[in-house]
Every structure is written in C-alpha cells, then in structure tokens.
C-alpha cells in the first residue's frame, strides 16, 4: 500500500521572550492508507503540536505535510478531528452537532441523505436514542461518542484524535475504545491518535510512534503491533507478546525518551523509495542512526 500521509522534517518553533523555542524538530513519519497509528510521548513533548499542524490549526514552521498527494495548507473537513474535550457546540443537539459538518461536506446530497448519514453514525456510536439531546444532558462519555460520530460522518481522508479518552474513567474509556475500533473496522480510515495510555495504543494501533522528550522532540522509535484484527482485549491480555511490547514502550518512555533527547534528529532524505527506510529510526544499539545518508535535502533535490 502506498503512503497516504507524509510528514517530512516537520518543525515547530514558537517565538518566546527568551528567543525562539523549538518544540518539535525534524519530525518524520509516513502513514499508509488505512493504517491506525498512535503517537505516545511524555506530557508536553509536542504530540498535540504535531497533530494540530496536521489538522491545519497550527502553523507549520518548517517542513511539510502531504496528505493523499497534496501538500496541506490549512484546516479542512478532509481531516476529521476528535478533540480531547469533545468541543461540541452546547446550543446544538447531538444530531445538529454532527449535521453541522455533514451539511458542509455533503452539500450536494439531498436533505434526506444528509439526515441519514448523521443518524447512521450517531446510531453506530450508540446514541440512537439521544440524538436530540443537548451536550449538557449527555455524560462525558456520550459527548465523546458524538465527537467520534462527528469526525467519522465527514468521511474524511484521515482521522486525527488528540487524547480523545483522556478525560474519561477507565471503564468508559474501554467502552469508547471499542466504539472507536468497531467504527474504524467498518471503513479503515487512516488515523493518527495521540494517547498517554500504553494499553490503549496497543489495543488500537498498527504502529506506535514514540516521541522523544521536548524541546526539539522527534520520532525516537516506532513499534509495530502485530496482533491480528479484530482484536479481543481478553485474548490480547493472555498473549506474552503483548507484555513484551508493553515493556518496550515503557522502557522507551522511562529511558530512551530522555537519552535520545540530546541527539539531533535525523533530517529526512528527499524521498526514499525503499520500504526499509520508512521508519524514522531502526531499532538498534545505536538508536539514532539516520535511516539514509544524511544529505542536506537542498542539495540532493536538484
């Protein structure tokens, strides 16, 4: 399968009173069509920054993002975003909140078709009976279900989720992970999801991207999650491989996120063709070895 999303040398710099602060530096990642990628890293390392640049809500300082063959220039409904707080408009019902986006994307469809789309997704996330309620009358978990329905209902090229379950209790959290994965299993939208939760990442992701600590954070390592789908949480928990991968993630967060911090991130070559060079950093004794010869991209482009 082809690369659907390509983040190359993505860099974010904020001007601060003490000079420019480089939050994310040379962040490189390719995501294939239909892949579910989780992004983990310590709090404040810049996960949301990367995601919001993808969403077009945050300006890109350097580097670029290509989605489905097109360079991104701003926000758009071709990316469905699920925010940490559900960000529903409180004066609209669940249905109207979903409809706001549906009307925008499917403006050529008939009113009945649009209504069907919104109702379909709300029903799938389990809100068939609560469509006409305002957010204030919904529980946190139900609100985030609306958030998920709203994103999927756009039929976007990509799904962006920023700790969508961060504010939920663990029971509701697992429930919603299931809702998300069920919905995702239907049409395999390409997804990038930020999370703090190692188990959540292992349950949902095809690959888990680990970010080093900021400032100047970058992709420290990428973990493949080989479990077949559809996944069953209980089966997963009995698999010794699950604990090996979990251990690896935790080891990264506790050790390598810090040790990698001071090494400069590998600038990405202009356009590597080999599949082998997909990962930012191969897992090896020298973790930060560049995937390709580190030619300055300006020179090799000509």
């Amino acid at each position: 399968m082809s690369d659907h999303v390509e983040l190359s040398n993505l860099t974010k710099t904020y001007p601060t009173p003490g000079g420019p602060a480089v939050i994310v530096k040379n962040f490189n990642l390719r995501i294939r069509r239909g892949e579910f990628v989780c992004l983990i890293g310590h709090s404040g390392c810049g996960k949301s920054t990367v995601l919001s640049m993808l969403a077009g809500l945050n300006e890109i300082s350097e580097g670029g993002i290509v989605l489905a063959g097109r360079e991104l220039t701003g926000p758009g409904p071709d990316r469905g975003v699920v925010f940490q707080s559900p960000s529903l408009l409180p004066w609209l019902t669940a249905y109207e909140n979903v409809m706001l986006g549906v009307d925008q994307v499917f403006f050529t469809a008939s009113a009945a078709e649009r209504r069907q789309i919104a109702e379909y997704y709300l029903t799938v996330v389990g809100l068939g009976d609560a469509m006409d309620k305002r957010p204030a009358a919904l529980s946190q978990g139900m609100r985030q279900r609306v958030g998920i329905a709203r994103a999927f209902a756009l039929s976007p090229k990509m799904l962006l989720l920023d700790e969508p379950f961060g504010m939920l209790d663990s029971l509701t959290r697992m429930e919603l992970q299931q809702v998300l994965v069920d919905l995702w299993n239907r049409n395999h939208l390409t997804a990038l999801m930020v999370t703090h939760d190692v188990d959540e990442a292992l349950f949902l992701a095809d690959r888990i991207v680990m970010m080093t600590n900021g400032p100047e954070a970058f992709v420290g390592d990428i973990l493949h999650v080989p479990f077949p789908r559809p996944r069953d949480r209980r089966v997963l928990l009995e698999d010794p491989e699950y604990y090996r991968l979990r251990e690896e993630l935790i080891e990264f967060l506790e050790v390598r996120a810090y040790t990698l911090k001071n090494q400069s991130p590998p600038p990405s070559p202009p356009r590597p063709d080999g599949a082998a060079s997909r990962e930012a950093a191969p897992r090896s004794a020298v973790p930060m070895a560049a995937p390709c010869p580190t030619t300055p991209s300006v020179l090799s482009a000509s």
Binding site: G76, L89, G101, Q104
Partner: protein
C-alpha cells in the same frame, strides 16, 4: 444570617418602613418644603387611581405618562442595540479595530446624557418639529449602547478556541461561522449588555424629557417642579424606580434563559 418564617416579607417591609419614617421626620424638621407621605399620597391619588386618564397635554394619568416614556425609550434602546451589537462584534473580532476605536470609545463613554442632548437637538435641527424627539433618541442611543458594545466585545473574545477550531476544521464560511458559532456563543454576554443598556436607556429618558419638555414621566416631573407641586415629583420618582426595577427583572429572566444554553 438568621432566617425565620416570612423573612422575605418582613425584612423588606421594615426597610420601607424605616425610609418612610425618615421621610416623615425630614418633612417635619429640616426639610419643610418636602411634602410628607400622607400629603404626597393625597395629591397623587388621582394620578394613580386613574392611571390612563388624559385631562390635558401635561395633566395625564401616571401610567399614560409612563407609556409615552416607554415608547420613546424602546425606540432609542433598539437603536442602541442595532448600533452597539455590530460595533461590539467588530471590537471583539479585530485587534486593529479595537486599537483604532477603543480610545475614542473610552472618552465618549462617560459623557452624561445632559451633555449629549443639546448636541442631539443641534444635529437634527433641520428636522423641524421632530428635532426634539430625534435628539432624545440620539441621546438615549448614544448613552445606552456602551454596555452592549463592551459586553459583546468581551463575549466575542471569550468564545472558546475549541468552538472556533470546530468552525475552522469544517471550513465554515464567514457567515456560517458568525451565525452558527460566534453569535450563539456570545449570546449570554450580549444579553448582559442588553440588560445594562436598558437600565441606562431608562435613566436617560428622564433627562431627555426634562430638557425637551416632551410629555412623559420625566417631562411631567420637570413641569411639576416648575409648578411647585412637589408631591408629584415624589410620585414620578417612585414610578420611575418601579418601572426601572420591573424592566430589569424582565431582562434578567430573558438573560437567564440564555445563560443555560
């Protein structure tokens, strides 16, 4: 604070009683010209008990005068909202606009209606007979709009970034963003402004009528002062207070409805 049965009734009654007692005392001692409550009531009875009667241009039932004033206030107030709300939106949305106009707004805001009115009349001098009405409307609008302007601006600035992000992600058009996101999100603030503006509009009406001599509660007050019927001044003051209070309550009820949204 201690609470007891009927305290909501007893305590306010005590408050009124204390003020009326002080009023009796004052008119009997240091303010000999002040009519006491009994005299005030006797002189006002006709106006209160036949509130809609019209005996002459400047001799009408108290509610009839109030009605004239309310009509004028409503016009001026609506004008204030029509001018103030968009101005507030521009201030809230554009930093440049704020930088340009905030200083002049801060200077015009504290100017008293008594100062605006002559200017208003001069402005509409060409209108002939309706100059005084237009001048009064201008004064009400220009004095009453500031709370609406400022509260709307604060409300627009306080719209959560999350809501704006939703609009940006969906690429809502400017008009849609305004109607579907900005205005609903700002509504509670706008209504706080609307309520405060109505209070000011009601304050201004009296001054405007006094200076222009229009029939209304304020014009009546001024006329009776000149005619040395001091009882009616007190009657007017009480009426103005009660009407103002009722208007504020009504607006609070409307405001509350939007707060929960």
């Amino acid at each position: 604070m201690k609470r007891f049965r009927l305290d909501w009734l007893v305590l306010p009654a005590l408050g009124f009683g204390a003020v009326i007692a002080f009023w009796y005392f004052s008119s009997a001692t240091w303010a000999k010209e002040l009519p006491n409550p009994t005299k005030t009531w006797l002189a006002s009875r006709d106006y209160v008990l036949k509130p809609f009667e019209k005996r002459g241009e400047m001799d009408q039932g108290i509610l009839r005068f109030t009605w004239y004033s309310l009509v004028l206030v409503t016009k001026g107030y609506l004008l204030a909202l029509v001018l103030g709300t968009p101005l507030g939106f521009f201030l809230g949305l554009s930093k440049t606009f704020t930088k340009t106009f905030d200083p002049i707004i801060q200077i015009l805001r504290p100017v008293s209606p008594l100062a605006w009115l002559p200017l208003g009349i001069i402005l509409f001098m060409g209108a002939g007979k309706s100059a005084s009405e237009l001048g009064a409307l201008f004064t009400i609008a220009v004095c009453a709009m500031w709370p609406t302007v400022l509260n709307t601006a604060v409300g627009v600035r306080a719209v959560p970034q999350d809501y704006l992000n939703v609009a940006r992600v969906l690429k809502l058009s400017r008009a849609k963003t305004l109607w579907k996101v900005l205005i609903p999100a700002t509504l509670p603030y706008m209504f706080t402004g609307f309520r405060l503006s109505l209070g000011i509009a009601w304050l201004v009406i009296v001054a405007a009528e006094m200076l222009t001599g229009r029939p209304g509660i304020g014009g009546f007050l001024w006329q009776e002062y000149n005619a040395l019927v001091y009882e009616h001044i007190i009657l007017c003051i009480l009426t103005i207070g009660i009407v103002g209070f009722v208007l504020d309550r009504l607006m609070s009820l409307i405001e509350l409805r939007f707060k929960t949204a």
